[in-house]
Amino acid sequence: MKLALKIWRQDGPADAGQMVRYDIDGVSEDSSFLEMLDLLNEQLITSGEDPVAFDSDCREGICGMCGVVINGEAHGPERTTTCQLHMRSFNDGDEIVIEPWRADPFPVIKDLCVDRTSFDRIIQAGGFISANTGSAPDAHATPVPKEDADRAFMAAECIGCGACVAACPNASGMLFMGSKVTHLGELPQGQPERGARVVAMTEQHDLEGFGGCTNLGECTRACPKGIPLNVISQLNADYRRAGYGGSSAD
């Protein structure tokens, strides 16, 4: 395959950055999107140019490290992570525009790499259970109804890649936050801190500068794990029950 790539190049956080065009030939349809970028980087290194920086880790769609916006779509045209997207989803001769996640709480580090520690800080604010760290309890010590366990697991599939923020017209992190709140809120272990969790996470979310959800559903479509929009409604419901942040001491 022969492709015309338009890639965002930015030397560092302070650099203004610009789109640069690269023509690449001999791309296999069976290669993944990241392998195609690897091929480009090999050519750039050979010709003495700076390779394109991008994030990746497991390359099997489970870690949440990779992610770029391809032709305006987070993770590209298929419902999957960028590493699991294959070049067969494109046509020979296509022009492909590749950009980093665009959101001010995700500042660009270099080229296609963004800093997602704002997500870490949201988790640190309350996305956890203060567990007793004694010996592991028996698996059946705390019974969980099947439906609750299923919903918790569905929400727990979130890998924190940030595609929801990248796709959202408001750059809102509420699908991510809703996933965490639903995941822990559906389980008995998550109940003691449920109110305080949603209040602290929402406060951190706003503080990081993410926008507010307008219920469009772009996030759900971009989510490689297909997490439904109703986790955002769950977030809103939990936040209401916690008194809209008025009574954060739980």
Binding site: N170, D206, G211, I232, N236, D238, Y244
Partner: protein, 233 residues
């Protein structure tokens, strides 16, 4: 829930975004109640101009002699005005936050988009509706704008105005905007109030939003078109 790993938090600027969204949702639902009530009043003209005038008169004398004249009307007007201020202020605050959350736009253009056109028109469509409401009050309430001279009877004012085709055009266009706003607004309000908790519930909310938008648009457009085509004189 104090843990040693939790970072020290700086003070947040302005109200929490979910609280702002809730203000938009609750005031929006009040508007839904109001437009249904308003629509019921408009449909009185199908019964006859006398029934319409009587209804308009009763709105002013509602609760008499327990309440002074027009007191019910003014309480409702003040509630509506406060709701408009809250709805617009909270929406604009969220709009500004969304703008600040992404200061660099994407260069690539999406081929397909998930949200309906009506859902994307909430902000500018809402402002267009606000402009219409101002026009509507100047037209029928304060009578600053007159189409076909001044009339003492409310029914005559309505009938003489809607006999003019472009007046019907303005109101019909406004109702299309209102229908679009309701289609996404009712859905969004239910989401924000935490009612969408399952995929089945999402379908039910979609159904209710389509139903309400249809009832309001059709209900409001029956009188002007009936007048335009000469069924009411």
């Amino acid at each position: 829930m104090a843990t040693s790993t939790a970072p020290a938090r700086a003070a947040r600027k302005g109200p929490p975004s979910i609280l702002l969204k809730t203000v938009v949702a609750v005031t929006g639902l009040f508007f839904v109640f109001f437009v249904l009530f308003h629509m019921y009043g408009n449909l009185q003209i199908l019964v006859g101009p006398e029934a319409f005038d009587e209804y308009a008169h009763h709105l002013r004398t509602f609760g008499e002699p327990m309440l002074p004249e027009k007191s019910f009307l003014w309480v409702f007007r003040i509630l509506l005005l406060a709701s408009v201020v809250g709805h617009v202020w909270a929406s604009m605050s969220l709009w500004r936050r969304a703008g600040q959350a992404r200061t660099t736009r994407y260069a690539g253009k999406k081929k397909t988009s998930y949200g309906g056109f009506y859902a994307k028109a909430m902000r500018w469509g809402g402002l267009a509706l606000l402009a219409f409401v101002v026009f509507h009050i100047l037209h029928f309430t304060t009578q600053t704008i007159t189409i076909d001279g001044a009339h003492a009877s409310p029914a005559e004012r309505v009938i003489s105005s809607f006999a003019v085709w472009w007046v019907v055009g303005i109101y019909a266009l406004a109702m299309v905007f209102l229908g679009m706003h309701l289609l996404h607004g009712v859905w969004g309000a239910a989401m924000t109030l935490g009612l969408n908790t399952s995929l089945q519930r999402a379908e039910q909310i979609r159904f209710v939003s389509i139903l309400l938008a249809t009832i309001v648009v059709v209900g409001f457009l029956i009188p002007p078109f009936a007048i335009l085509f000469g069924f009411i004189e």
